[in-house]
Amino acid sequence: MSATIDRDTTPDNTVTPNVTANRRLNLRERAASLGMVWVLIILVITATILNPRFLNVGNLVNILTQNAPVGIIAVGMTFIIIAGGFDLSVAAVLAIGGVSYATLSHMMPAGPAILITLVIGFLLGLINALLITKAKVNAFIATLATASLFSGLTLLYTNSKPVSMATGGYDFLSGVDFLRAPLSVWLLAILVAAGWFTLAKTVYGRGIYAIGGNNEAARLAGLPVISLRASTYVLTAMLASLAGIVLGSVIGVGQPGVAVGVTLNSIAIVIIGGTSLLGGEGAMWRTLVGILIFGTINNVFDILAFPQATQEVALGVIVLAAVSLDAYTRSRKRSGEA
């Protein structure tokens, strides 16, 4: 410890060189922190070479449309992970969202159906939040349990059968276009922008970083640590139920079966962007980069007609690259020689 202290103190006579050194250091650190952006750029170039039509607006919209549900969840997951938490129940909540919206579509107009579905998401998130903040169950365990609980109940309720959605515009999120893109893509864009603003510019956002960086320090400074942490789970569950509505409007049914991949992919997207699983660090633009990398890989492999399994291999490699980069920059910082 004292060795680190020794290094970072500025002796009076070297103030000027140290300032420049810090600037140089920050530049290099910035380049490193952009690591996954370079990966995205390389992927896009590769994709364009393999498929000259890759950068066409149509194709890009296609990528975003496909990944809107998982992207919407990743926005919430970013909050949870920066706050130092974890949520394995999002896929189950997504399934409940889809089933709930499809079921309600037979009883009421789209507006109230969405509203009620979001309220259900809110309540499911509240269950996670209470388990984690009040009962102090480890987030990993708590959401592993609720994931099983939620999906089991959904399967029981639907008798394991898909629930069809009523006709008559209930699929407007995927069926209606605005400026050449379906509303679901605009919804994703708005959520990413709002998430970025909240994390970067608001008091609430700073609080999220603070509890993820050092919960005890935040508590002793007087921050409402319990409500802050709870809010991330509630927010994410609401976004997951919204993702369920979007997915439902794409496929026209509410699927009670849980796509396990959604949970892992939403976490992978956040990690790929460079947000640290240890909490306290990260940003929403990174999650956007993660969504784009994830979507590009899917798209390229689809175009090349490679089997699904190869996509999973590629995704695994990229996630490993992202976390290694994170660990590497972290260890360099710690040794004081970054």
Partner: protein
């Protein structure tokens, strides 16, 4: 260095050792000779290079110029194993014990005694007891899980572990920093025992009492250079401090006041007419505190003194709302309110806390200095929940500059700063968001002499601003140096409120007597 009488053996020699980190020159042509069988202290401010020098000997620091020799053999730079082969063992501040294993298992962690791959438990127990005897310490039961032992006992186990490999040189990096004053005796006895056995000891320390007691030789570091090496008693404290800080700074700092006894008290009498801002009546925390009364006036510093385990930190935490079982009556500016059971409740009353564990409980190390200052009240610089960057920066810079914190570095991550500057960040937090009452728990722990004086003066600045300050420190001299009055607690009860005598001094003797429960003060 003067040659000794009977040509001593040089155990460790640093010859023109240099080390550069980026633009910072941590060591510049350092020459030090360490004689076999002596205790050699390296002292200096944070950043002076003493820990880097220690690391060079330990093989932890990959120095880039010069030679380190251990008993005449040059060490490969930055090779821990080579250093160990040459008989060098190091004990760092962060202990490397495994809490779930028992004491004996921890001692033999790196070098398990076995026969044909089977643990020889009996042999290890025998050696364990033998090691306790060699160190001249009370035998710690071999079978207890180490997690349940005190830090001091854990440290002794760590020293015993280093002895298993029979080292010739043992390096200590601030060994007493994490120990309470009354726990240090066993450590000192152990070090003296090692010296008696002919082991060479190099120790980095901030604590002058400890250096005077243990060290045969003292080398002072400043700005990466070894400034001077002297024998025990050759130089006075004041001379050493001046060597550490440089001529100009050495004369001004309160650090000097702390080093040169008797302690002078800096307090000014608080006007008697002023009403107290905080009154506590009958504060009780089950199992820790009983029926404590106190009051503080705006502009006053109330020191809390007491031994470890006396409840002094619990007292602060209870007032800060961090003790959910606390009960009693609290009045702020005369207005009575229920006892704050959460930190948020205490904050609403205008009470702010500087926690004891700077890194663990005070700072969000990954965030910038500015963010850490603003942490207690992010709302102050925002409208409608949106932070006004410019306003925030201005408010934070104002608080930081009043405490001589380098304002140009506010954007840097807070783990980049020295302990002294990190502590200033925590203090600046409460200049940025002015509480009515500020509670400072061990504000100078692990901080070097120069910065210590500055931090204590900072508390005075805050008091002069009209904040009522309550301060706890295990360094009695510090409490006496900054406090207007001192409340002494022993075994959870208040045993005395010591006020300055006719010469405006608080007598240390009075405080000690109350702390040990020898005499009840009115």
């Amino acid at each position: 260095m003067e040659p000794s009488l009977s040509d001593p053996v040089i155990a460790v020699a640093l010859k023109a050792v240099s080390k550069t980190y980026g633009a910072t020159r941590a060591l510049i042509d350092v020459d030090v000779e360490i004689h076999e069988g002596t205790v050699h202290a390296l002292i200096g401010e944070n950043g002076a290079g003493k820990s880097t020098a220690l690391g060079a000997i330990a093989g932890r620091v990959d120095f880039d110029g010069g030679v380190v020799e251990v008993f005449g053999e040059p060490l490969e730079a930055g090779n821990l194993r080579a250093a160990r082969r040459n008989g060098v063992s190091a004990i760092y501040q962060e202990l490397t014990i495994v809490p779930h294993l028992d004491a004996a298992a921890n001692v033999f962690l790196g070098s398990v005694l076995s026969r044909f791959g089977v643990l020889s438990s009996r042999e290890m127990r025998r050696r364990y007891v033998q090691l306790c005897a060699e160190l001249d310490v009370r035998v710690i039961p071999a079978g207890v899980p180490v997690g349940s032992l005190s830090v001091a006992e854990q440290q002794l186990l760590e020293i015993m572990r280093s002895l298993v490999v029979e080292p010739r040189v043992i390096l200590f990096d601030e060994p007493s920093a994490s120990l309470a004053v009354e726990e240090r005796e066993a450590l000192y006895k152990a070090i003296e025992g090692l010296r008696k056995r002919g082991v060479t000891i190099v120790i980095v320390s901030h604590n002058f009492d400890e250096i005077e007691r243990l060290a045969d030789w003292i080398t002072v570091f400043r700005n990466g250079r070894a400034i001077t090496t002297s024998r025990r008693g050759e130089k006075s404290r004041a001379e050493l401090v001046r060597a550490m800080l440089g001529e100009q700074r050495g004369d001004q700092t309160l650090g000097r006041v702390l080093m040169d006894k008797p302690v002078e008290i800096h307090s000014r009498p608080v006007e008697t007419g002023v009403a107290p801002i905080l009154e506590v009546v009958g504060l009780t925390v089950p199992g820790a505190l009983e029926n404590i009364d106190l009051e503080v006036k705006p502009g006053e510093i109330l020191g809390i003194a007491g031994l470890v385990g006396s409840g002094r930190s619990t007292l602060l935490r209870a007032i800060a709302g961090a003790e959910p079982t606390a009960r009693g009556t609290i009045r702020l500016a005369g207005a009575e309110s229920p006892w704050p059971r959460t930190v948020r409740a205490a904050r609403k009353l205008g009470i702010g806390l500087i926690p004891e564990d700077r890194k663990g409980e005070g700072l969000v190390l990954l965030r910038s200095a500015a963010d850490n200052i603003a942490l207690a009240n992010l709302g102050a610089a925002s409208s409608g929940g949106v932070i006004g960057r410019r306003k925030l920066r201005a408010m934070v810079a104002e608080a930081a500059s009043r405490l001589n914190f380098p304002v140009a570095r506010l954007g840097e991550r807070s783990d980049r700063f020295s302990g002294g500057n990190q502590q200033k960040l925590l203090m600046a937090r409460w200049l940025y968001d002015r509480p009515r009452v500020l509670l400072a728990d061990e504000p100078t722990r692990g901080i070097d002499v120069g910065a210590k004086g500055e931090l204590l003066e900072t508390l005075r600045v805050m008091a002069a601003d009209g904040i009522a300050v309550i301060m706890v420190s295990s360094e009695l001299e510090e409490v006496l140096a900054v406090s207007d009055r001192v409340l002494v607690v022993a075994k959870g009860r208040s045993t005395g409120l010591i006020e300055p005598n006719g010469d405006q001094q608080i007598a240390m003797e009075d405080v000690l007597q109350a702390a040990f429960g020898l005499k009840e003060h009115a």
